[in-house]
């Protein structure tokens, strides 16, 4: 009586409704039963599932089956589009202030959600992408060694941490921290508050007071992606008390489907802004509603992949890159572009697999952001001529030494990068002469540069293998 794998059950329904010109009511009903179960299995709140499937049903009812599309796929597309629409929408990532010297972000949430780590990641992210000068504030006086933890995080990221120990009221810590930010010229203050239950009135009051004191531009609720049905209660309570401005979903590198994202958004209207995708302090990403929709629905099919492809990559850019690669004239300028593309799309983007030589990257554990930063630094230290003409560097060790000292990286690393480009050029050249089948074989085993051949770990999902800082 227990359900089989729901995805395969869905596939069955697809098959049943394939080959019709129009979706009729009972087809959709049948379909929605499966969608409903799939969403429940993904931990979407029961009531949210109900409302959502009702809404989508109405939408689907009006739709004709498009030519060339499998009707099942089309229903999935409708469901998927609706999920994306719900979880996405126009919201500023972070509202920076313009009328005082610093912007304040307050991190709040239940115990163990990941606030401290995420506070560090966020400060790092905003320093890197918005040239902010952050100050981390240790306002968790309750959990043993919480301050110690934030200090360590700060030290690793080279971000200052303000703390006053645990024998002081968190409200006073915040007051003092703001003064410090002003005197030290920090234009961003990230407050790490203690984890607390949404039903603990004393501690919720403390947050309300801190809000009054710090007047934060952002109050970000940190939520564990593995949260079940209770997510709605938690988010509703925090939102009611504080007026949360955004949500961060953590531990998304796990194998959870993450239905909490949908529940929270639908019930509170609070946008999900970031996702935490690993234990490294650089594992933070802007929230991608499309990826989340696919994940919650549990159907990563080709359709959404193609959609994403057109969305996330400029076709022209990709094509000219491909031509360049094939011609064997690939140089450091192109490599830099390629890096930026990878960065923009995320290493797991399905589109990566479509680029020659990139299949292995796409299947590998996440490329270390740091490595990309290092490679960029090295390339930036080259002269224009060297970038376009890698031979110049190959021939001259003094050039290589200069680049190394200019970028702050070792000569070995510079040499490795030059070697990597050379390998890639040769491989591309060879591939362009092969027939497609052999070419595919050739690329799967080999990833040019970036730490040598990638060992593929079994299992699904991303972020396998725990590459930690």
């Amino acid at each position: 009586m227990a359900f089989e794998n729901l995805t395969s059950k869905l596939q069955m329904t697809f098959r049943r409704i394939t080959g019709k010109a129009q979706l009729n009511g009972s087809d959709i009903d049948e379909m929605m039963k499966d969608v409903r179960l799939s969403l429940l299995e993904a931990d979407v709140n029961y009531k949210v599932v109900k409302d959502f499937t009702d809404e989508v049903k109405e939408l689907a009812m009006g739709e004709k089956i498009l030519k060339g599309l499998n009707p099942g796929q089309q229903v999935v597309k409708i469901v998927n589009d609706e999920l994306v629409k719900l979880m996405g929408g126009e919201t500023a990532l972070v509202n920076f202030t313009s009328n005082r010297p610093y912007t304040v972000i307050m991190m709040v949430g239940l115990q163990g959600a990941g606030k401290t780590t995420t506070a560090g990641k966020l400060a790092w992210f905003l320093r890197k992408n918005h040239a902010k000068k952050p100050l981390l504030v240790a306002a968790d006086i309750y959990r043993p060694a919480a301050i110690e933890q934030l200090r360590t995080v700060g030290a690793k990221l080279e971000i200052p941490v303000f703390d006053k120990g645990i024998d002081i009221d968190p409200r006073d810590i915040v007051k003092l921290a703001l003064k410090r930010a002003e005197s030290d010229g920090n234009d961003l203050v990230v407050i790490d508050t203690a984890g607390r239950l949404h039903i603990n009135e004393t501690l919720m009051d403390e947050l309300v007071d801190i809000k009054k004191i710090a007047k934060p531009e952002e109050i970000l609720l940190t939520v564990d992606a593995m949260t079940g049905q209770d997510a709605v209660n938690v988010a509703t309570a925090f939102h009611a008390a504080l007026g949360v401005t955004g949500c961060i979903l953590t531990k998304l590198d796990g194998d959870t489907r993450g239905g909490a994202a949908l529940s929270i958004r639908k019930v509170t209207g609070v946008p999900i802004k970031f996702s935490g995708t690993g234990e490294k302090l650089t594992d933070i990403e802007v929230f991608h509603p499309e990826r989340m929709a696919t994940r919650i629905l549990g159907m990563g099919d080709v359709l959404s992949l193609i959609e994403k492809a057109t969305e996330e990559i400029d076709e022209h850019e990709a094509m000219s890159m491909m031509e360049k690669m094939m011609s064997g004239k690939f140089n450091f300028v192109d490599l830099l572009k390629q890096m930026k593309m990878i960065k923009r799309m995320g290493a797991f983007s399905g589109i990566l697999k479509m680029l020659p030589g990139m299949g292995a990257i796409a299947d590998s554990p996440k490329i270390d952001d740091k490595q990309i930063v290092y490679i960029e630094a090295i390339i930036h230290s080259m002269t224009e001529a060297e970038r376009k003409n890698p031979e110049l560097l190959e021939r001259s060790s003094s050039r290589r030494n200069r680049v190394a000292s200019g970028s702050g990286r070792s000569t070995t690393e510079v040499n490795r990068l030059i070697g990597m480009l050379d390998k890639q050029r040769q491989m591309m050249k060879r591939m362009s002469q092969m027939n497609p089948e052999t070419a595919e074989k050739a690329q799967s085993g080999m990833l040019p540069g970036l730490g040598g051949p990638i060992k593929q770990t079994p299992g699904k999902g991303k972020g396998k293998g725990g590459f930690r800082i």
Binding site: M1, A2, F3, L37, L40, E41, A42, D43, N45, Y46, L110, Q111, G112, A113, G114, Y142, R143, P144, A145, A146, I147, E148, Q149, L150, R151, T152, V153, K156, L197, H198, I199, D224, M226, T227, G228, Q229, D230, A231, V232, N233, V234, K251, D253, G254, D255, T256, R257, G259, A260, E279, T457, P458, G459, G461, G463, K464, G465, G466, R468
Partner: protein, 332 residues
């Protein structure tokens, strides 16, 4: 503590309200679990008392209530099917009579006709190692503090091992619990090999005739192959040092966890055979129903529940109390 099928048949309500102490304990669970206004199982009573007949609509409603407690889709489906069968068998027509059946069936689901013992299976006259594992942030370190306090109160000599050498501040955190409880903590530097910490701790605990060694491990997501291998290595180290005695392994699960709890239990159990579950944060509004699905599908019992952040906020799992908590509104 133990409960036989026969006992259930005698009448669950008589049992539930048997003694004053029991009543008090139930009260404690209730404090921990019944704060969700208008949510979850608080609707159960309304559903049963409001329904005119036992029909599909009522079963849908029950299904909703169980799902909202995170019981897990498969378990709920199985459970409601069993309810339907029982209703048919006994030819029941009045919704209120479902009350008893639901509670009964819930007991059956958990007990599976076995005697479930939530006591710590100590090694007689030797060192008992208790390994505490789980995903990030579930309450492993806190639970170790609470367990240590409890075990020490039983008159045993307790030692802690800081085998979370990864998370910033983790060693420091365990040391603070060590001070609170008044027991020694074996630790190396951040970044040290966790198995090496465990090795040293076992040698020391044996040499100094400790009764119990509690091992704190780093939080890890169960799908990270390398980290699960690391855990296997810790487990192997313990077994090598203490051959032919059972190792106690507790998996800590946060009550707010949804369906992923099942995957956690499955994969952690594969890496290091799990003895029992510690269900934490039951003092919130989440019911932690996924542990029933875990018991149902993997047979792993629940050993302790966490009901707060203080040293004393740990209770031995008591199935009656728990189910009482789930259905607290029946008894208002």
């Amino acid at each position: 503590m133990f409960l036989h099928r026969q006992v259930i048949d005698v009448g669950i309500f008589a049992k539930l309200f048997g003694t004053k102490e029991r009543r008090l304990q139930e009260q404690k669970y209730k404090i921990g679990m019944a704060k969700t206004r208008g949510g979850s199982l608080s609707n159960l009573k309304a559903a049963l008392y409001g329904a005119k007949a036992i029909d599909d609509a009522l079963f849908d409603r029950l299904e909703e209530i169980f799902i909202m407690a995170d019981l897990g889709v498969d378990t709920v489906v199985k459970f409601t099917a069993a309810l339907r069968a029982e209703v048919k068998k006994r030819a029941i027509t009045v919704p209120r009579e479902l009350e008893n059946i639901i509670v009964d069936k819930m007991f059956e689901l958990y007990l599976q006709g076995q005697i479930v013992d939530a006591n710590i299976p100590y090694v007689e006259g030797g060192l008992t190692v208790i390994l505490v594992v789980g995903v990030n942030g579930t309450g492993k370190t806190t639970s170790i503090g609470k367990l240590a306090y409890r075990i020490k109160a039983e008159g045993k000599k307790v030692m802690l091992a800081a085998a979370d050498t990864f998370r910033a501040g983790a060693i420091e955190q365990l040391k603070i619990w060590g001070v609170r409880v008044g027991c020694p903590v074996v630790a190396k530097n951040e970044g040290a090999d966790p198995s090496a910490v465990v090795f040293d701790a076992i040698r020391l605990a044996k040499a100094e005739a400790y009764d119990v060694l509690l091992v704190d491990t780093a939080g890890r997501l169960q799908n990270k192959v390398n980290l699960m291998k690391e855990l296997e290595k810790i487990d192997r180290t313990i077994r090598r040092e203490l051959p032919s005695v059972p190792i106690v392994t507790y998996l800590v699960i946060d009550a707010t966890t949804g369906q992923n709890g099942l995957s956690q239990a499955k994969l952690f159990n594969e890496a290091a055979k799990v003895t029992g579950i510690i269900l934490t944060k039951l003092d919130g509004t989440a019911k932690g129903g996924i542990v029933l699905a875990i018991r149902d599908e993997l047979g792993i019992p629940i050993s302790f529940v966490g009901l707060g952040e203080k040293l004393t906020d740990l209770e031995q799992f008591d199935v009656e109390g728990y189910i009482y908590g789930l259905f607290a509104d029946f008894f208002d």
